[in-house]
Symmetry: C2
Subunit: 281 residues, 2 copies
Amino acid sequence: MEKLVFQNGVKKDQLLSAVNDDHGGVIVELKEPMDTTVFQNMLKASLSKWKLQGKKGVWIKVPIELVNLVETAVKEGFWYHHAEPHYLMLVYWIPETENTIPANASHRVGIGAIVLNEKRELLVVQENSGRLKGTAVWKIPTGIVEEGEDIFEGAIREVKEETGIDTQFLEVLAFRQTHKALFGKSDLFFICMMHPLSFDIQKQDLEIEAAQWMPLEEYAAQPFVQKHGIFKYTKDLCLVKAERDYPGFTPVPITSFFDGSTSFLYFNKDGLDQESSAIHL
Amino acid sequence: MEKLVFQNGVKKDQLLSAVNDDHGGVIVELKEPMDTTVFQNMLKASLSKWKLQGKKGVWIKVPIELVNLVETAVKEGFWYHHAEPHYLMLVYWIPETENTIPANASHRVGIGAIVLNEKRELLVVQENSGRLKGTAVWKIPTGIVEEGEDIFEGAIREVKEETGIDTQFLEVLAFRQTHKALFGKSDLFFICMMHPLSFDIQKQDLEIEAAQWMPLEEYAAQPFVQKHGIFKYTKDLCLVKAERDYPGFTPVPITSFFDGSTSFLYFNKDGLDQESSAIHL
């Protein structure tokens, strides 16, 4: 019969519930309130067992309600992997070798929307806040793609929110990668070509000072837009798209072999279709 | 003269050091060890003052060494914003209005590298782990772009690490966005065209089972590659690039107006150059 050892009223060899991950590690999801001493003893006993089993990474997901257990885990050698508003993910690496724990998300994703109407007018805004506040610079609507949102959806939503204009997404014309942005993370910004489906502007008051349809030449003639980095290229792309067909990347739905889920591949569809047909003739 | 109130040996109106952010909020960086009671009193007094001042978001950055203070902040109503291995960022919203606190990074960024040599051979690998382990499927080298790394740098590094081959980056041919990947985050995967600068394969043993130069037709004839989503499109893109010039997006350095930093804009350079010249004539 198993010999039970009690200390502070806790069976010393009581273990944390864990499931295996796909990489030789284990994942613990704490759910019930627990005394810190009980947790410490269970964690020590569990770590001993996982070491004997040759486990690698150990993950502990702690809901914010159980914040009292975080300090205990850190004292046992765990460190932070990532956090979301309602939980903290702690991690520990058992082997002597360098850890191969994957990094968390590294990029934010933003969009800028070129919405050109048939009168060669561009949908432009002036912002209430940020670095262009008070400069009277007219710019294209921009925004951040939300978690779980597709780039084309984010672009349609942001244009609607800022200006009230409904649009159809056509193509990604260019994208920019920058580093050391908000919270030290990187940023991917996609310049999107959109076709307007409505024309009456209803501007959002919170972020937008003014919004209008502006003749493309007037937009392009702004000194700020003439000179600088992404503003200059955005102006060039607007002019090109008003003239003829600079080829961008179109979103096409594809199905995952592994789980049947649908996602979108953005590429030069006309380029590939023409070339593919030519090759297979 | 100011009236001082002491409780538990702490001056009750002692305040946390904070700096203003650009959006009407304040940022506190905890650096020195502190008793939890001292911290609690300082935090309560500071929150009262910030409320009177009409501050909005309150950020507290807690290094992992000061983990003992986390529970106290959560009890005062703070929640998690994000975490990195060595710190946790807590946040609180003072006004009655809905909070406009920006989300943390939402995407991981990966690359797949098409490396074609002049004999119409493609650089391909078989992986040691993951979902294609043991399937004998030959695939292009893939990997995750590191924090702060440019997409083209990541592609060059991954090809070198997995196969020992030096490459020059040419273009992004396509990209895919997926959701609910690792830790529930989204994923952007860029298919990159590379020109080989060396030919002797030195495969990495940790992740790669086998690596070789494979005739393009042999690669394309694999049943797995014929059928499925991104694998099929990658095969089509390889064939197109071997035949003629499907236009992709080329990275071009641009300079930020705001801070003079350099980043890269990826776009159809030939398309824009031709069109721009035409327009400006």
